[in-house]
C-alpha cells in the first residue's frame, strides 16, 4: 500500500460527508446506499465514523460531473478515468468526484458504484494507490463481490488511523458462499419491501423481480450494527418492519434503518428462557400470525396483540407432514410456505397441509 506524501490524514475520527448531486443512472436511495456501504467498509477496520450532512461544507464532498467539472482535473468521457478523489485536507481535500459519463450500476453490468466509491473514499481518507493487484486501492477497476478490502488495504488504513476498537478483527475478503453450490443451505430468508433477502454466513443475497441475477453483499456493509450471522428473519409488511434474529437477540428494521429500542431479547416475544435461538421465522399475512421455529418445535405469535398464542410449542413434524423435523429458513408466498432445510426446499401448501414440491435450496437463486 501507499499513502500520499506526508501521510495526509484527517485529524479527528469523526468525518462528515455530503452528496451534492446524484447520477440519473441509479435511484437516489441506491446511490445513498452505495456511498454509505463504501464508507462502512473503511469504518469497519478503523475508529472512523461518518456523518451525513445535507447542507453546508462537509469534509468529504461527493459529486457527479463530466469533462471539466470545476477542479481543472477533467474527466475524459465514457470509460478511461472513472472517478478521482483528493487526499484529506481543507477545501477540496477529501472531495470525491465521479465521472457522470460512465454508466453507474448496482451490479456488474457496468461500473459498480459501490466498488468505485470504496476505492475513491480510500483516497479521501489518505490511501494512495497500491501496486498490489489484489488490493482495492489498485488503480484499475475490477468487479468483485463480498468485503472489498484486502489485507494490504487494511494494513494501510490502520497505519494511518489504527484499528477499530469496537469490533473484532475483520477478515479481509471473506470467502463468499457460492450460490450454485449443490450443498448450499440458507441461514434465513425474508422479504424486504418487495425484495427477497437470503442470508448465508456473513453475506446476503438480494433478489428483486426485475434483477436477473441475485446481488451478494456482506451483511456488515449494509447493517454494520448487526452480528455477522443471521439465524432467522421475517417481514411484517403492515408495520413496514423486518425482524432479524441472532442468538437471543432480535433487531427491527424500518427499511435499512434500525428501529429505536432494538435490539431486544427474543424472550420479550414470550418465548421461554430455555430457547436460546430462533431457527426460522415467517409472517403469515392471511392469519396475522408469525411462526417461530426452534429446534423441532414451532411457536405462534399474534402480531396484532403482541402475544404468544396458547397451545404452543407444537411439533413441526406433526403439524407439517412431509417436512423434515427442523428448518433453517421459511418464506411465505400466496398461500404457500417455502421451508428450507439443508440443501432441500419444500414447497408446502398451508391450506391443504401437504408438501407440493421438493427442489434444491438454491433454486430460488436461479441455480
Amino acid at each position: 500500500y501507499n499513502h500520499f506524501p506526508r501521510h495526509l490524514k484527517w485529524q479527528n475520527n469523526n468525518i462528515t460527508f455530503r452528496i451534492l448531486n446524484y447520477t440519473p443512472d441509479l435511484k437516489k436511495a441506491d446511490v445513498d446506499r452505495a456511498i454509505r456501504n463504501a464508507l462502512n467498509v473503511w469504518a469497519d477496520v478503523t475508529p472512523l465514523t461518518f456523518k451525513k450532512l445535507h447542507e453546508g461544507i462537509a469534509d468529504i464532498m461527493i459529486s457527479f460531473g463530466s469533462r471539466e467539472h470545476g477542479d481543472y482535473n477533467p474527466f475524459d468521457g465514457p470509460n478511461g478515468l472513472l472517478a478521482h478523489a483528493y487526499p484529506p485536507g481543507a477545501g477540496i481535500g477529501g472531495d470525491t468526484h465521479f465521472d457522470e459519463d460512465e454508466q453507474w450500476t448496482k451490479d456488474s453490468s457496468a461500473y459498480n458504484l459501490f466498488i468505485v466509491a470504496a476505492h475513491e473514499l480510500g483516497h479521501a481518507l489518505g490511501m494512495s494507490h497500491s501496486s498490489d493487484a489484489g488490493a482495492l486501492m489498485y488503480p484499475v477497476y475490477s468487479y468483485t463481490t463480498g468485503f472489498p478490502l484486502s489485507e494490504d488495504d487494511i494494513e494501510g488504513i490502520q497505519a494511518l488511523y489504527g484499528a477499530n476498537p469496537n469490533s473484532k478483527k475483520v477478515k479481509p475478503r471473506p470467502v463468499a458462499p457460492s450460490k450454485c453450490d449443490p450443498d448450499l443451505s440458507f441461514d434465513a430468508v425474508t422479504e424486504l419491501r418487495g425484495e427477497t433477502i437470503v442470508f448465508k454466513d456473513s453475506f446476503y443475497w438480494r433478489l428483486h423481480p426485475q434483477m436477473p441475477e441475485p446481488e451478494q453483499t456482506l451483511i456488515k456493509s449494509t447493517w454494520p450494527f448487526f452480528p455477522k450471522k443471521v439465524d432467522a428473519a421475517y417481514e411484517n409488511p403492515e408495520k413496514d418492519r423486518v425482524y432479524m434474529f441472532s442468538g437471543i437477540k432480535m433487531w427491527a428494521l424500518n427499511g435499512y434503518d434500525l428501529v429505536d429500542g432494538y435490539p431486544k431479547y427474543i424472550h420479550k416475544l414470550g418465548l421461554p428462557k430455555s430457547v436460546r435461538k430462533v431457527d426460522a421465522a415467517v409472517y403469515i399475512k392471511d392469519t396475522g400470525k408469525t411462526l417461530l421455529f426452534t429446534d423441532e418445535e414451532y411457536w405462534s405469535y399474534d402480531e396484532s396483540t403482541g402475544t404468544m398464542d396458547r397451545g404452543y410449542p407444537r411439533s413441526i413434524e406433526e403439524d407439517f407432514p412431509g417436512m423434515d423435523d427442523e428448518v433453517d429458513a421459511v418464506a411465505y408466498h400466496y398461500g404457500q410456505l417455502y421451508f428450507f432445510h439443508e440443501h432441500i426446499q419444500y414447497e408446502y401448501s398451508y391450506a391443504s397441509r401437504k408438501v407440493l414440491r421438493i427442489q434444491r435450496t438454491n433454486s430460488i437463486l436461479n441455480c
Binding site: N73, F75, L82, H84, A85, E120, S128, H129, P139
Partner: protein, 77 residues
C-alpha cells in the same frame, strides 16, 4: 518510415495517460528531452503495475493503459 496510424494513436494515447497520471510534462520541449522523459515515465508506470520494465510501448503496457481506472495520479502529488 512514418509511424503506422495505430502506433501513432497509441503513442498519443500513452502521452496523454502519462501526462495525466505520471506527471509527464506537457508543452514545447526538445525532441530528445521529451523522448527521454516519456521513457522514464513509462518505466515508472511499468514498474508500478509490475509489468516488464522496457521503457517501450509494448502491447501489455498499452492494454493496461486502456483499462478503466481511477484518475488519481499514481506517484507524487
Amino acid at each position: 518510415l512514418p509511424l503506422q496510424s495505430t502506433e501513432k494513436d497509441n503513442r498519443l494515447f500513452a502521452e496523454k495517460y502519462l501526462h495525466r497520471l505520471y506527471g509527464l510534462p506537457a508543452g514545447l520541449q526538445g525532441r530528445l528531452q521529451k523522448s527521454d522523459t516519456f521513457q522514464t515515465k513509462l518505466k515508472e508506470m511499468q514498474k508500478f503495475f509490475k509489468l516488464k520494465v522496457t521503457g517501450t510501448l509494448d502491447d501489455s503496457t498499452v492494454e493496461l493503459m486502456k483499462q478503466a481506472r481511477c484518475g488519481v495520479p499514481d506517484i507524487g502529488e
